[in-house]
């Protein structure tokens, strides 16, 4: 029996990079079931790269990623697919399939993995789109909507199959403050209603403080993680000027 305290994802000693270019070294953390886990850090420090190692797109140079105890990069393809099938992913750019309408984008995962009839699928699609504030946009193509709308449509697609683990790459980038707030609420709702575990890459401070249960902070210069914990605690307790500067938008210079 899975206990609530069991980690769903365990990352240990991960080295990330492309070919012989190292982006991040020695990353270790674990994500508890039902947590909202935030990955923060400056632009270009390697957050998306880390996410790609978690969702099975880029093999890490070193280290392990365990899902419920199974070593993802050490299992065969069929097992990897069993694991990724329970994922929902919102990519940084939305990554909607451009030759499909929004409705078809959200419907595709359902057509592949569910036994729903096409009428039921249409209903689920309408529901998911309305959940992200895009009701009635089924027949629009990704090129016909704004960047923020694409992001939200990508989110509707990510949650189409009611995934157990949802990955968000900068979900609120490109959204206006009201929509960004709505998205935060939606993320919390997904966690509470679906019982999903959620990993969010973001540097929106408001969002970080209001949704995160736990977090890690990646630093580009030292190429590793330099802090971990609840962001509110980090702000209160951290002695690291880099962390404090980030969490206070560069305003506060703690005298150490």
């Amino acid at each position: 029996m899975d206990s609530v305290l069991d980690p769903v994802i365990e990352v240990s000693n991960l080295d990330l990079g492309y070919a012989d270019y190292i982006v991040m070294r020695n990353i270790s953390f674990s994500v508890r079931k039902n947590d909202i886990f935030v990955v923060m850090g400056a632009s270009g420090c390697g957050k998306s790269t880390l996410l790609k190692a978690l969702i099975g797109l880029n093999q890490p140079l070193k280290g392990e990623v365990l899902y419920n105890g199974k070593n993802f990069w050490d299992t065969d393809e069929a097992e990897q697919q069993n694991i990724t099938r329970r994922f929902g992913v919102l990519y940084q750019g939305g990554a909607l399939w451009s030759s499909l309408t929004l409705g078809e984008n959200v419907a595709l995962p359902l057509q592949i993995y569910s036994n729903l009839s096409s009428i039921q699928i249409r209903e689920v699609v309408a529901l998911k789109l309305s959940l992200v504030g895009l009701a009635g946009y089924e027949d629009f193509y990704p090129s016909e909507i704004s960047g923020g709308m694409r992001k939200r449509a990508g989110l509707a697609r990510a949650i189409a199959l009611d995934p157990d683990i949802i990955f968000f790459d900068e979900p609120s980038a490109g959204l206006d403050p009201v929509n960004a707030r709505m998205l935060d609420d939606l993320i919390i709702q997904l966690r509470d209603v679906l019982g999903a575990t959620i990993i969010v890459v973001t540097h929106e401070l408001a969002s970080i403080f209001s949704i995160a249960d736990n977090s890690i902070f990646l630093d580009a210069e030292s190429k590793t993680m330099i802090a971990a914990g609840n962001p509110n605690d980090l702000l209160a307790d951290s002695r690291d000027p880099r962390v404090i500067r980030f969490l206070t938008r560069g305003a506060k210079h703690p005298n150490l």
Binding site: Q81, F87, V89, R157
Partner: protein, 247 residues
């Protein structure tokens, strides 16, 4: 090179899954590609192959006139078009039209992370995106080539009758006699291989595209260059094999 073999392997696996009915293929792309090969390329293929037929007739006429054997222009045009030229010209046209667009489409999908999104969903991009394109070209290139055969022969006919004053009935009889069934088969083999070559180079370059607008441009250019180079090499190989087999 290794990525080419990996890609071909994946394509073969996808094809196996298609035959056993397990593949998840986007058939809309198949229909769109068929349409683009058909309607949109018709005019260009007509024009080019008719002109090639005309040029052949002109060039041949000058030589054959010295021997008073101008009527054999019919044989030359018929055989050359049906055996290789129609297929090669169609192949080159389609490399520029369709191969380039495959690379650009898939390259942009790669840049937009659309292909990543398919992978995390557990859908093979080769199965979903590449398969319908390869199949469409594999079917359409032979059809276009047969049409180009006809256009080339008509081009030769127009020059021979209109400008060289040859007898149309005699010309037609010569053509019929010269173009043996085996040449049609050889032409078919050419066009089938070109269909594969164009689709595979376009899709491979697109899928392996670097994630930037410059990357997409490069993928498009190299798709066309790869396709045309491979078409010429394939033609040489097929011609060589025919030579050995004595056909």
């Amino acid at each position: 090179m290794r990525s080419l073999f990996g890609f071909l392997g994946e394509l073969t696996v996808s094809f196996g899954r298609l035959i056993t009915g397990k593949a998840y293929v986007r058939w809309d792309d198949f229909a769109v590609t068929i349409q683009r090969c058909g309607l949109d390329a018709f005019l260009l293929v007509s024009l080019i192959s008719m002109l090639v037929g005309m040029i052949l007739a002109f060039v041949g006429a000058i030589q054959l006139k010295m021997f008073g054997a101008q009527i054999f222009i019919a044989d030359i045009v018929g055989i050359a078009m049906v055996r290789v030229l129609a297929a090669v010209m169609t192949g080159i046209i389609m490399s520029g039209r369709i191969g380039a667009s495959f690379a650009a489409e898939l390259g942009i999908m790669q840049t937009n992370e659309e292909i990543d999104a398919l992978k995390t969903l557990g859908v093979s991009p080769v199965e979903f995106l590449v398969m319908p394109r390869v199949l469409a070209l594999f079917i359409m290139l032979p059809l276009l080539t047969i049409y180009a055969d006809l256009m080339g022969i008509i081009g030769g006919f127009i020059i021979s009758i209109g400008m060289l004053g040859l007898n149309p009935i005699e010309y037609w009889n010569h053509t019929q006699h010269a173009v043996k069934l085996i040449y049609l088969w050889i032409g078919l083999i050419h066009s089938l291989s070109f269909g594969l070559i164009i689709a595979i180079s376009g899709c491979l370059r697109g899928v392996k595209c670097e994630r930037s607008s410059a990357g997409v441009g490069e993928a498009t250019t190299s798709a066309v260059v790869t396709a045309i180079t491979s078409i010429v090499i394939a033609t040489a190989i097929i011609t060589f094999i025919c030579q050995i087999l004595g056909v």
